[in-house]
């Protein structure tokens, strides 16, 4: 056995706090190590060439690279040694950067720890076995979760690329948050006018199968072969018969249903079509408000419906779809006003959120586009906007910036002036964040052309005084306290992840951060990939994002899926669990513990029952290995012997 060890300086990243030469000298003394050297950047092309040359020159058959995290470059070096004629599993990576040089400043201790870690890797590589990938067929259909602008863009791009798309949207219509907006910044385009055609395209595209008012129930499988269970929630209206005429909505006697589409700024009917441009334009009953459900009698909509589409007995339905890749575009939610008690959120009707104000501005909103304050339906003359209502506020649990509030507040202030020319708007802000194309000019326009008064400072309290709301805050530029008597207060509430983001992430086996936003594979270089192959991200489910960024990510995720599906076969990872049938007693504990349902029962010819791993489904997590009472399942590339060799190497050091 001839092991070659390559220790990377990573510029000063490693060599700054680890004596790499001393490490190489020490490693060279290990029996079996035929060659140990250091290099400035091992991952660079000359660095990789040096590995290839050394393999030939010193006749090496096992390779260790001591550098960064294997998540960074393991695949790079595996390819390198494969090109040099070695099996790519005759390779180990010792992480001396993230685990050592970046976290400790004591050079002596770091050097010693680096020697220990590399010694372990050498011991492991000597135990490594050659492994070979097998290839499997992929199902070239794609699931898109979420029918907002990001999800629709992804679905359309995939569809146009010739892929069959399954689009699942949890609300009754596609369109997402963008369909609620009145205008978009910085061009003041009518939001629904630019989104509407996309929504229609989604509905009419012959490659896109839309499940509206549906949610993901369960996901099984792996990249290339997923089985998706979709829950079609009961709408109590047969959508194959519903023509969207709206007669039911007109006659429904229950007028106080919560309007999810309008964020509760005004009530709606218990049976409703969320908005005029809804896709699909179908009615749905809200059983929490429908008298047939709450009181057991009514039936007005069933009587009035010309196509007899109402069905009070409807149940949820589960359907199964098979796909090969998943694009997650599940969007975001907004901070509840009630979490801002100092601003009277939820207590005072004239303190509303930005998205609610958007509905008041919109011609198809509850006020038909006339700005009327909720308490008394009068036109407000003084409107105060509060930016960062919850954002950048650790006490709320939202330390981050919500990305687009500065911009939509400027837009809403401009629109307020357009709607009510004799009005005056004020904006309380911390910083104006407008780094997009044409964005800063836009916020300047609000101030200079529309006379919006920007006050730099936080609002401490909002309280009623007669019919007015008094907004009290600091003007940090003047260094004084200010009080503005407003008719209406609009809070730019913080962007949060979806309340069920974590549950969906667990179904997808993808990671999410402290705030519930999904984590991309690399923040700069792999922004729409996840660490689960076959699952891609688009839009604000990954973090607060405005429309252009969401659309860009939708297209990016689609292109990733198209690239993945450009091959007919995919290679499987051979580092999966393997059953030794001579040792297996057929207790099948592993079948029950496997989180991926990758192990099945198998009857041998002699009638004996044993466990059998489905290689392509196994994710290599190793849960079965620790479950097996007789050590019959071993995770390839992480066998007991291999791990013990590492432990021994460490303990002897």
């Amino acid at each position: 056995m001839r092991v070659g060890v390559f220790i990377c300086h990573c510029g000063n990243n490693i060599a700054g706090t680890v004596d790499v030469k001393a490490v190489a000298d020490e490693i060279r003394k290990i029996p079996g190590v035929a060659h140990a050297t250091t290099y400035m950047y091992t991952c660079s092309e000359p660095g990789q060439d040096e590995i290839k040359q050394a393999i030939k020159q010193y006749n090496l058959n096992r390779i260790v690279v001591a550098a960064c995290s294997p998540r960074m470059h393991e695949l790079t070096f595996r390819r390198t040694i494969e090109k040099a004629g070695l099996n790519k599993y005759y390779f180990e990576m010792a992480n001396i950067r993230e685990h050592i040089s970046w976290v400790g400043e004591n050079k002596e201790a770091n050097t010693k720890k680096a020697i220990d870690v590399i010694t372990m890797a050498v011991a492991k590589v000597m135990q490594d076995k050659p492994l070979f990938s097998s290839s499997f067929k992929i199902n070239k259909r794609v699931l898109v979760i979420g029918g907002g602008v990001a999800g629709m863009q992804a679905a359309l791009d995939c569809g146009d690329g010739g892929l069959e798309v399954v689009l699942v949207e949890k609300s009754p219509s596609v369109g997402g948050m963008m369909s609620r907006l009145d205008k978009t910044f910085p061009t003041i385009d009518c939001s629904i006018c630019i989104l509407g055609p996309k929504m229609v395209d989604v509905a009419q595209h012959d490659k896109i199968k839309l499940y509206a008012y549906s949610e993901i129930e369960d996901i099984k499988g792996y990249v290339g072969n997923y089985q998706i269970k979709i829950r079609k929630k009961a709408t109590y209206v047969d959508w194959t018969k519903c023509t969207g005429c709206g007669a039911c909505m007109e006659k429904c006697p229950s007028r106080n249903a919560y309007d999810y589409f309008n964020f509760g700024v005004a009530p709606t009917k218990a049976i409703n079509i969320p908005f005029p441009q809804a896709i699909p334009k179908k009615a749905k009953i809200d059983p929490n408000y429908c008298r047939q459900f709450t009181k057991g009698k009514c039936g007005v909509c069933a009587k009035i419906c010309p196509t007899k589409a109402i069905n009070y007995e409807m149940q949820d339905e589960i359907v199964t779809e098979e796909v090969g890749a998943i694009i997650v575009a599940s969007g975001y939610s907004l901070l509840d006003l009630e979490r801002l008690p100092e601003y009277g959120g939820g207590r005072y009707p004239d303190v509303i959120s930005g998205i609610q104000y958007e509905r008041l501005l919109n011609a198809s909103g509850p006020t038909a586009g006339h700005i009327l304050r909720p308490s008394d339906n009068t036109e407000p003359k003084t409107v105060v906007f509060v930016a960062c209502a919850g954002s950048r506020d650790k006490s709320i649990g939202v330390p981050y910036c919500s990305n687009f509030c500065c911009m939509y507040i400027a837009k809403q202030a401009i629109l307020t002036k357009d709607h009510i020319p004799d009005s005056q708007s004020y904006v309380f802000y911390m910083d104006i964040r407008s780094p997009g194309k044409g964005y800063d000019e836009f916020t300047r326009r609000a101030q200079e052309d529309y006379g919006v008064k920007y006050i730099r400072g936080r609002v401490s309290r909002i309280y009623p005084k007669g019919k007015k709301m008094v907004v009290r805050g600091a003007d940090t530029l003047l260094g004084t306290q200010v009080e503005v008597e407003a008719d209406l207060v609009v809070l730019g509430t913080a962007v949060l992840s979806n309340p069920d983001a974590a549950r969906l992430a667990e179904k997808l086996h993808i990671s999410y951060d402290t705030f519930g936003f999904y984590v991309e594979s690399h923040p700069k270089l792999r922004p729409v990939e996840t660490n689960t192959s076959g699952v891609f991200l688009a839009g604000a489910c990954q973090g607060p994002k405005d429309i252009p960024a969401s659309v860009g990510q939708g297209s990016a995720a689609a292109s990733k899926v198209l690239a993945l599906f450009s091959k007919d076969m995919l290679e499987s990872d051979p580092a999966v669990a393997k059953v030794n049938i001579n040792k297996c007693v057929g207790c099948l504990k592993c079948v029950r513990t496997c989180p991926f349902q990758a192990i099945k029962e198998n009857q041998l010819r002699d009638g004996r029952i044993v466990a059998d791993v489905i290689e392509t489904v196994c994710a290599g997590c190793g849960v079965c290995t620790s479950t097996c009472p007789c050590g019959a399942i071993q995770l390839q590339h992480f066998t007991d012997n291999q791990i013990l060799a590492e432990v021994n190497a460490l303990c002897q050091g």
């Binding site: 006697p253 008690p341 100092e342 009277g344 207590r347 309280y463 009623p464 005084k465 007669g466």
Partner: protein, 324 residues
């Protein structure tokens, strides 16, 4: 189960400017059967003057009292004054969470304090330990004319990390207690607004301005009485009310009474027993306009019947098509 016994720390204000708060609290606690005992040889809680200068010293002043209470075998101390309350809570919080701080404090003390005593305001004990139901059951008299603005002051619930009681932005404990007494509560937006606190001596004008805002807001909310839980708030709003009128040109005449006094009135005690005579702006008319619960219920019943009768008449007038 044996009845819970609380230590009651009176504090300096309650001996002097707020003697009626002390008096009425004792009456209410006795009426509700709350068992309390006073520590002997108590000293300053370490409030305002000390903690603006030296945190360790301030905590030591508080901990001296807590240590006495700990040695009495009690684990909860109650106090009326929010300043005392926060002095105790802050000392407890800092000592529990910072070992070196605890050592520094204990160095100054003769008897080491082991952090076994938790401070609760009398408001918290009445609201959480006694409960609204018991309070409501004890009510014998109703004051039908009163519209109360509950004023908590700035530190009863804040900072939330240390106060650990009620909502820091919109507290409701006192609102609910007053409601349980059958008294109307106004939606008062300045529940927590600053009254000017102890700046009445160095910056009288500022305190007058601040207190004026509080009183004006109470009147705007339709209140004819401000109900308080803090001796300093009471002093600024009541004792200085004439001063406010003179300096700001206002014309306030609104009683500012302790919530314990209000409870005492609802429990049927005389104004004398509750120290109502100590108030500068008289609240005697509320005591006089009290009616018994029995009488109140009868009145309400009569009102209800009158309403019903009116509705019936209206129904007959407009015909039978009222039902949707």
């Amino acid at each position: 189960m044996a009845k819970k016994r609380y230590a009651y720390y009176q504090g300096c204000s309650l001996e002097g400017t707020a003697v009626e708060y002390d008096k009425s609290m004792r009456v209410v606690f006795d009426a509700l059967g709350i068992d309390y005992v006073e520590p002997e040889d108590w000293s300053c809680c370490g409030s305002t003057p000390a903690h603006t200068v030296d945190h360790v010293f301030a905590a030591a002043l508080a901990a001296r009292n807590l240590s006495i209470i700990e040695n009495m075998g009690l684990d909860v101390v109650t106090t009326n004054c929010p300043s005392c309350l926060m002095a105790f809570k802050k000392a407890q919080y800092s000592m529990e969470n910072d070992e070196t701080f605890k050592e520094k404090v204990n160095e100054l003390l003769d008897e080491k304090y082991n952090c076994g005593v938790y401070a609760k305001s009398s408001l918290q004990i009445l609201y959480e330990d006694v409960g609204l139901e018991a309070i409501s059951n004890r009510v014998t008299h109703i004051i039908p004319d009163m519209k109360a603005a509950p004023y908590y002051g700035c530190i009863m619930n804040r900072p939330p990390k240390i106060a650990q009681f009620d909502d820091p932005e919109n507290p409701i404990s006192m609102d609910r207690i007053i409601s349980a007494l059958g008294i109307e509560v106004c939606d008062f937006a300045f529940k927590l607004e600053c009254c000017g606190a102890a700046f009445g001596v160095p910056k009288r004008k500022m305190v007058n301005e601040l207190s004026k805002k509080v009183i004006a807001m109470a009147e705007d909310a339709g209140a004819n009485c401000i109900v308080v839980a803090c001796p300093l708030c009471q002093q600024n709003l009541d004792l200085r009310q004439e001063q406010i009128n003179q300096t700001t040109g206002s014309n306030f005449n609104i009683p500012v009474i302790y919530f314990t006094q209000l409870m005492g009135l609802a429990f049927g005690y005389t104004p004398k027993e509750l120290g109502l005579d100590k108030l500068i702006v008289s609240a005697d008319h509320f005591a006089r306009s009290r009616i018994t619960k029995q009488e109140y219920l009868e009145r309400e019943k009569a009102k209800e019947q009158e309403k019903k009768a009116k509705k019936e008449v209206k129904k007959q007038e407009t015909g039978e098509e009222e039902n949707p």
